[in-house]
């Protein structure tokens, strides 16, 4: 099978997915640049999916003009603005390609890099992530937060990808069937891909300054990224065995409770006259035991959920490659 792991033996069909939000001025140049780049690519055919993420300007009309002029261009209009992650997933759901390439709609990515991504996919990778060399963005507002975020995400998810913010990526179809994006998970696509059993690599790509339109990022997303990071870490390590997450914390809690109990007994027998209170130490013991019991129960409920709900509609299994074949 050509698209379940392993090396693609025939020429793949390529889908290029571009989420667009208020990018009216960039649509026409984007389409012609992508078309020019794909003339040289060795594929059996290609399609360009323009996902309009509820734009308030003329983006949708511009997309429909482009689609009317070229049958390979398709428009996917979302009913409202859902955000980048959901727009990408909508594109994945509609894409027919064996390989799917995503890029930003602001022309900061270079479509001429697509052949390089394809080559890395043909070498057997499930996900190829671009990293931007000589990034053309504001230093303080964009580059520094991005550097910090990349460092933290790399350290915690242990996925060796140096630029999680780069939209230029290539996916093998089989990986997309196992991975589903929601909320604002686009920052963690490499981590989710690894959690789904995918082989991930990264290659350098070009980056251009923004020509038209405005950047849609702002600061103040640190808290959200941290909460999402904790989620991804949990998904990566514990989504199949929640007791392994809650059990150790419960043990610590029981330990604290036990220690307080011992100290309370010691105080009661006046081995240590400074431990005078009859309320505080037993109180701490009760709270700690309570927390431990609560966590064990939460872990058990999660196991129940996994054994019942999640097994009703199982996820596709990850692909395994036979070595030396």
């Amino acid at each position: 099978m050509p698209n379940r792991g392993g090396v693609i033996t025939r020429k793949p069909f390529l889908s290029v997915v571009v989420p667009l939000f208020d990018e009216e001025a960039n649509v026409a140049p984007l389409v012609s640049r992508v078309r020019a780049s794909l003339e040289t690519v060795s594929v059996s055919g290609w399609e360009l999916l323009l996902v309009d993420d509820g734009s308030r300007d003329g983006t949708l009309a511009a997309c429909e003009r482009a689609a009317a002029a070229d049958a390979r261009v398709r428009v996917i209009p979302l009913a409202r603005n859902y955000g980048q992650t959901t727009a990408l997933q909508a594109g994945f759901d509609e894409a027919r390609g064996d390989v799917v390439v995503t890029m930003d709609g602001d022309l900061q990515n270079d479509p001429d890099d697509i052949p390089l991504l394809l080559q890395a996919i043909e070498e057997g990778h499930d996900l190829v992530v671009g990293y931007r060399v000589r990034r053309q963005d504001a230093f303080v507002m964009r580059k520094i937060p991005s550097w910090v975020a990349n460092r933290i995400i790399r350290a915690l998810t242990r996925v060796p990808v140096r630029d999680v913010g780069c939209a230029l990526k290539a996916y093998r179809r089989g990986l997309l069937d196992r991975m589903h994006l929601y909320s604002e998970m686009h920052r963690f696509i490499p981590a989710l891909a690894v959690a789904g059993g995918g082989r991930v690599t990264e290659i350098p790509v070009r980056h251009h300054p923004r020509v038209a339109g405005e950047s849609k990022y702002g600061p103040g997303r640190i808290w959200r990224v941290l909460a999402d990071l904790l989620t991804v870490k949990m998904i990566q390590s514990y989504s199949d065995r929640p007791l392994a997450l809650f059990g150790p914390v419960a043990l610590v809690s029981f330990g604290v409770g036990g220690a307080s109990m011992v100290a309370a007994v010691a105080a009661a027998f006046e081995f240590r006259p400074w431990l005078a209170s009859a309320v505080v130490l037993p109180g701490i013991a009760v709270l700690s035991f309570g927390l431990g019991a609560f966590l064990v129960m939460v872990g058990l409920i999660a196991e129940v959920f996994l054994r019942t709900e999640a097994s009703d509609a199982p996820r596709p299994l990850p692909a395994a490659r036979e070595l030396g074949a």
Binding site: A79, W223, R224, S239, L275, V298, L306
Partner: protein
């Protein structure tokens, strides 16, 4: 074909008025405006006796269908069940009591060309200041928690395309928030001012439990609108705030212990531990929520396409919540 058929859905759930009078009052203006329509009246089991005058009208040839539920369910489920039996492309929900003048219905149906859902706003209000105060407090809270500027969610008189009811996740007591949920699904929602019915002007004060339920509904709505996909952002914020205060307390008393003050007999130590415990519990619940969301993500479609190019997609298998608990029995029908 002619004009599209409008199905008027009447859930009979609380304080019903004589249903035959209600039917006459509201069907007359529709008929006068030349709108083809049918009435689907759906009753809770304990209101079955109210249906007999309607059945007589139905036998006489009026376009009325009466449905009888086998068990008591929420109004959202009643609407879903009635919608299943309706044949019209435009659905009009009408409470079993008078809210607005009959002339409003035609205006609502008239909005269906360029809106997906039109809801009636009772304006000008003619009821007492107590009612209006309750209304404005409720909508102030709605605006504060959800950012919505809709003015009369309680009215219950709304016209919508069938796809709105089909595609909007609706269950339990959340029917009140149908316009909000529809907006979130990307439907166009408009408000239409309608003259308040003189039958709607008596002062209503409810039992305390009713207000508590409304407040809880609102809290649930706030959470569902903002955190369905990301529960940890809510629980994590609550939990880390609590844990942070707890740790601060613990740090302060530990430092004081180093300074020679005793540690173990200070009740504030208990407060610190309690806050820390609460924080860990909240984060644990958030993680459970995230786990549920993650494992359901691949069977749930998180977006809706704009209507102009809707094609059936293989991934259109959405979870539609729980189905109706019991198939309703049709008590009588016009045909």
């Amino acid at each position: 074909m002619g004009a599209p058929l409008v199905s008027v859905l009447v859930p009979v759930r609380e304080r019903p008025e004589p249903l035959a009078d209600l039917y006459r009052e509201y069907s007359e203006p529709l008929r006068a405006a030349g709108i083809r329509h049918e009435f689907i009246v759906i009753c809770q089991p304990w209101f079955e006796h109210l249906a007999s005058p309607l059945l007589e009208l139905a036998t006489a040839g009026e376009p009325i269908k009466v449905l009888q539920l086998g068990q008591g369910v929420g109004e959202a489920t009643m609407l879903k069940v009635a919608g299943e039996c309706a044949r019209g492309d435009v659905l009009l929900t009408l409470p079993a009591y008078r809210r607005v003048r009959g002339s409003a219905l035609a205006a609502l149906v008239g909005c269906m060309d360029d809106a997906d859902l039109a809801l009636a706003v009772r304006w000008p209000r003619r009821d007492s200041w107590i009612n209006r105060l309750q209304n404005s407090v409720f909508h102030g809270l709605v605006r504060w928690l959800t950012g919505s500027t809709l003015r009369d969610l309680a009215c219950g008189v709304r016209a919508m395309h069938r796809r709105v009811l089909d595609d909007t996740p609706l269950y339990g007591d959340f029917f009140r928030f149908l316009p909000l949920l529809a907006q979130r699904e990307g439907f166009r929602v408009v408000e239409v001012e309608a003259e308040q019915h003189h039958g709607d002007d008596q002062t209503r004060v409810y039992a305390p439990g009713v207000y508590l339920r409304r407040a809880l509904d609102l809290l649930g709505m706030f959470f569902l609108l903002r955190f369905t996909d990301k529960p940890l952002r809510f629980f994590g914020l609550v939990g880390s705030a609590s844990a942070f205060f707890g740790l601060t307390v613990l740090a302060v008393v530990s430092l004081q212990r180093l300074g020679g003050e005793p540690l173990a007999d200070r009740p504030v130590l208990l407060l610190g531990v309690l806050l820390l415990v609460l924080g860990v519990q909240a984060v644990a619940l958030g993680l459970i929520g995230e786990m549920i969301v993650y494992h359901h993500a691949h069977q749930r479609r998180g977006y809706r396409l704009a209507d102009r190019v809707r094609e059936p997609s293989p991934k259109d298998a959405r979870s539609a919540g729980t189905g109706p608990p019991d198939p309703p029995t049709s008590v009588g029908s016009s045909r």
